[in-house]
């Protein structure tokens, strides 16, 4: 099969990154323009967040299929090395993957279990010690990263012809039987929770995703999507209640934990003061919103919320700017068109105009070349017209 046909098939099967970002995988399999050949193909077997076990489970139970998916990836991307990063608190998954990879040359590498090592950039750094440039793509450094569950669906799509219609969801927290479920896309959260024996008492929040970056849902009548890696029904026993926010004391705890080496307290000041250009100076867009800074903040400042706010404001401003630019261009084009039409009309009028006896009108308008040209064009005819009329008169 030709690579572009294969990529089309993968795209049509709806294969996307199942880590949570749901970025179309077929796009990531096209290297053209970024690098000649991939140095490292990385399979992300580190869970995004604490509490999740869906990746752990798929590696333990479907290791062979994952490796079949990796074959397809390796075929398309032709990497020098295939690395499978798995957090070291999953010994069974590591053993299963090692067994499945035997003889293939793929290397299973345990990584320390330290949030957010499941982030693509962080895992890349851990495994290859390369840092993706903060304004570029990981392929710029010859690395491409896929989730293990993505590799599994790739295998199902290419080898079995089954598009992505289900995914593994971790259902955990205050439910009777926390477990992982291979759920069809579109299944309501409520049904999954019923499958797990229903809620226990004291459920306060329902979170899609993990405790650090997830989204709090206001109802369980939500469908499972490709991005639903975890459903966390949490009581206040597990989660922190809302705490009063104190002023920032610049203690620097956030600086110590930031995986992107940012200065979160500085970003906070600028986001709060709506100094968005300064926030961008401090590399606001390198923030991966992992939530580590909010987690350690002794003043309980919802730092990530400020960064999201600042990012949204900046995007809105940029969109506004683009719209204004577009409107300006449109206006300019319209003015040009009107001017052009006016001139054309005038020229036409002059052409159609009955011959005037005095050609002196050319005098004052001599400075305008097109009009002059039109008059020049018109003149012979008018002269002939005069001649004709003269003839007629005569």
């Amino acid at each position: 099969m030709h690579p572009s046909d294969l990529r089309n098939a993968i795209r049509n099967a709806g294969v996307v990154g199942l880590g949570g970002a749901v970025f179309p995988s077929a796009v990531k399999m096209n290297l053209s323009g970024h690098c000649e050949r991939l140095d490292h193909l990385i399979l992300n077997g580190a869970e995004c967040e604490p509490w999740m076990t869906c990746d752990d489970l798929i590696m333990r139970e479907r290791a062979e299929e994952i490796v079949a998916g990796i074959h397809i990836l390796a075929h398309l991307l032709n990497p020098q090395e295939v690395l499978i990063g798995i957090e070291d608190d999953k010994p069974e998954a590591i053993a299963a993957m090692r067994a499945a990879c035997a003889g293939t040359g793929y290397a299973v590498r345990p990584v320390p279990t330290r949030y957010p090592s499941g982030g693509a950039k962080q895992l890349t750094k851990l495994l290859t010690n390369k840092e993706a440039p903060f304004k570029g793509r990981s392929t710029d450094i010859g690395v491409q990263c896929f989730n293990v569950a993505t590799a599994y669906t790739l295998h199902r799509a290419v080898n079995c012809g089954e598009p992505v219609i289900s995914r593994i969801v971790t259902v955990t927290g205050h439910v009777a039987r926390p477990q992982n479920i291979d759920a069809l896309l579109g299944t309501a959260f409520a049904d999954l929770i019923a499958q797990c024996g229903g809620y226990l008492d004291g459920v306060e929040r329902l979170i899609m995703g993990g405790p650090m970056m997830g989204f709090a849902m206001h109802t369980d009548a939500m469908p499972v999507t490709k991005a639903t890696n975890c459903i966390l029904a949490a009581g206040l026993g597990e989660l922190t209640p809302e705490l009063p926010v104190m002023p920032c004391t610049r203690c620097g705890d956030c600086v110590d934990v930031c995986p992107a080496n940012l200065l979160p307290q500085q970003l906070y000041w600028h986001a709060r003061a709506k100094e968005f250009d300064k926030a961008q100076d401090y590399h606001l867009f390198s923030c991966i919103e992992c939530g580590c800074c909010s987690y350690v903040c002794p003043s309980h400042i919802p730092l990530v919320q400020y960064y999201r706010y600042a990012k949204n404001e900046i995007w809105a401003q940029e969109k506004e700017k683009q719209r204004a630019e577009l409107a300006r261009q449109r206006h300019q084009a319209r003015m040009e068109r009107l001017e052009r039409e006016k001139q054309e009309r005038e020229a036409k009028l002059r052409q159609k105009a009955p011959a005037r006896p005095e050609p002196a009108i050319a005098g004052p308008e001599a400075g305008k070349p097109p009009i002059e040209a039109a008059i020049a064009r018109a003149r012979p005819r008018s002269e002939t017209a005069v001649a004709e009329s003269g003839e007629r008169n005569g």
Binding site: K121, K125, E131, A132, P133, F134, K135, A190, V203, E204, R205, L206, I207, P211, M212, M213, A216, M217, H218, T219, D220, A221, A234, E238, L239, T240, E242, L243, P244, M246, P247, C248, T249, R250, C251, G252, D253, V255, D256, P259, A260, N261, L262, L263, Q265, Q266, Y282, H283, G291, S294, Y295, V296, C297, P298, S299, H300, P302, V304, Q305, R308
Partner: protein, 347 residues
């Protein structure tokens, strides 16, 4: 009907920490040093602490009420108590009550709340209070009790101490010069100014094993507490190591040039407020630099300034001035020491 849930933004789990907890840990860490001070200088140390704490809480409460802030929340952050203790420990043990009160009022009202309260003050409040007192009342601020173990006459009772602090009357059974005297740094400074050599000055009874008698034990107490603070990450390690390192290096350089006119580095490290300042004063995060490299520079700057003020300046000790001077520099240091962002090319 589908269940309804509370919606808030992530993250949903927070570390079990708070400003109040951090501040309380600072207070715990001061205890060994305070105990040593109280042992060598008597009840006055503790009385100062009590006066300062009461005054600080009263001033803080009044200002919070005036600014319309929630009292319980902000009094519970213990920042006023930390300021009070930091200042009280720096004061002479028999400082009159109005001196302590004035210093605290200046620290809390002017240096802290006029600038916006917790987190917004550019200068270390305790040190502003201390410097105001030092500049305005040089005589009261330089009369220290002679530490226990040099003169038998030191043992003032609690009642006598209270009388001295509140009415200024020293007990008649002691000769005035048997009770109070200059500190070791002060003596070193004066005697060196008179042309004596360091070795000659060191023979004075106020000197102990490495530095001032009694002082060195208080410094040891603060060192223990300070190391604990650094160990539990309540204080940034860069600041104390930078400050003590800077002080040690510059003191060593001058000591090697002329050991008879410049005191040895270990004397400087163990004297005055060097260790106390390095671990407790300079590490106040609000007024210090906030970047990892910046903190090192900030600390080294304080260490060098302390030495310059001690050796060439007009005051025997310079920790307070050095900290305030570097407070001004902290924002600029931060600006030029931004860490390399993940993925940024190494310059």
């Amino acid at each position: 009907m589908a269940m309804r849930f509370k919606t808030v933004t992530s993250p949903f789990v927070l570390l079990d920490t708070s400003v109040g907890l951090v501040m309380r840990r600072v207070l715990y860490a001061m205890l060994p040093g305070i105990a040593a001070l109280a042992w060598f200088f008597g009840w006055g140390v503790l009385v100062n602490l009590v006066i300062a704490t009461i005054m600080a809480l009263a001033a803080e409460a009044a200002l919070l009420a005036a600014r319309g802030k929630p009292l319980a929340l902000y009094l519970g952050d213990y920042s006023a108590v930390v300021t009070a203790w930091l200042l009280a420990v720096s004061l002479p043990p028999l400082a009159p009550w109005w001196l302590t009160t004035l210093g605290i009022l200046f620290a809390i009202v002017v240096a802290k709340h006029l600038y916006g309260g917790l987190g917004y003050n550019p200068f270390n409040p305790a040190m502003v209070g201390y410097v105001v007192l030092l500049v305005s009342f040089p005589r009261e601020m330089s009369t220290w009790l002679i530490p226990h173990g040099i003169d038998q006459a030191h043992a003032m009772t609690l009642l006598e101490t209270l009388q001295a602090i509140f009415s200024g009357v020293l007990p008649a059974r002691f000769a005035p010069d048997a009770l109070t005297g200059a500190t070791s740094l002060d003596i070193l400074r004066t005697k060196l100014g008179l042309g004596l050599t360091v070795t000659e000055v060191r023979n004075s009874p106020v000197f102990g094993i490495v530095a001032g008698h009694g002082w060195e034990w208080a410094a040891l107490g603060f060192l223990v507490g300070g190391l604990w603070l650094v160990y539990i990450r309540a204080a940034a390690w860069q600041i104390p190591s930078g400050m003590l390192g800077g002080l040690a290096v510059i003191a060593t350089v001058f000591y090697l040039i002329d050991p008879q006119h410049y005191a040895p580095p270990w004397f400087h490290l163990w004297s005055g407020a060097a260790i106390y300042g390095a671990f407790f004063i300079a590490t106040d995060p609000v007024t210090a630099s906030a970047t990892p490299r910046g903190r090192l520079i900030y600390g080294v700057g304080i260490g060098i300034l302390v030495y310059i003020i001690r050796a060439f300046g007009g005051y025997p000790d310079g920790v307070a001035f050095a900290v305030l001077l570097m407070n001004i520099a902290a924002p600029t240091i931060d600006l030029y020491t931004r860490p390399r962002v993940f993925g940024e090319r190494r310059a």
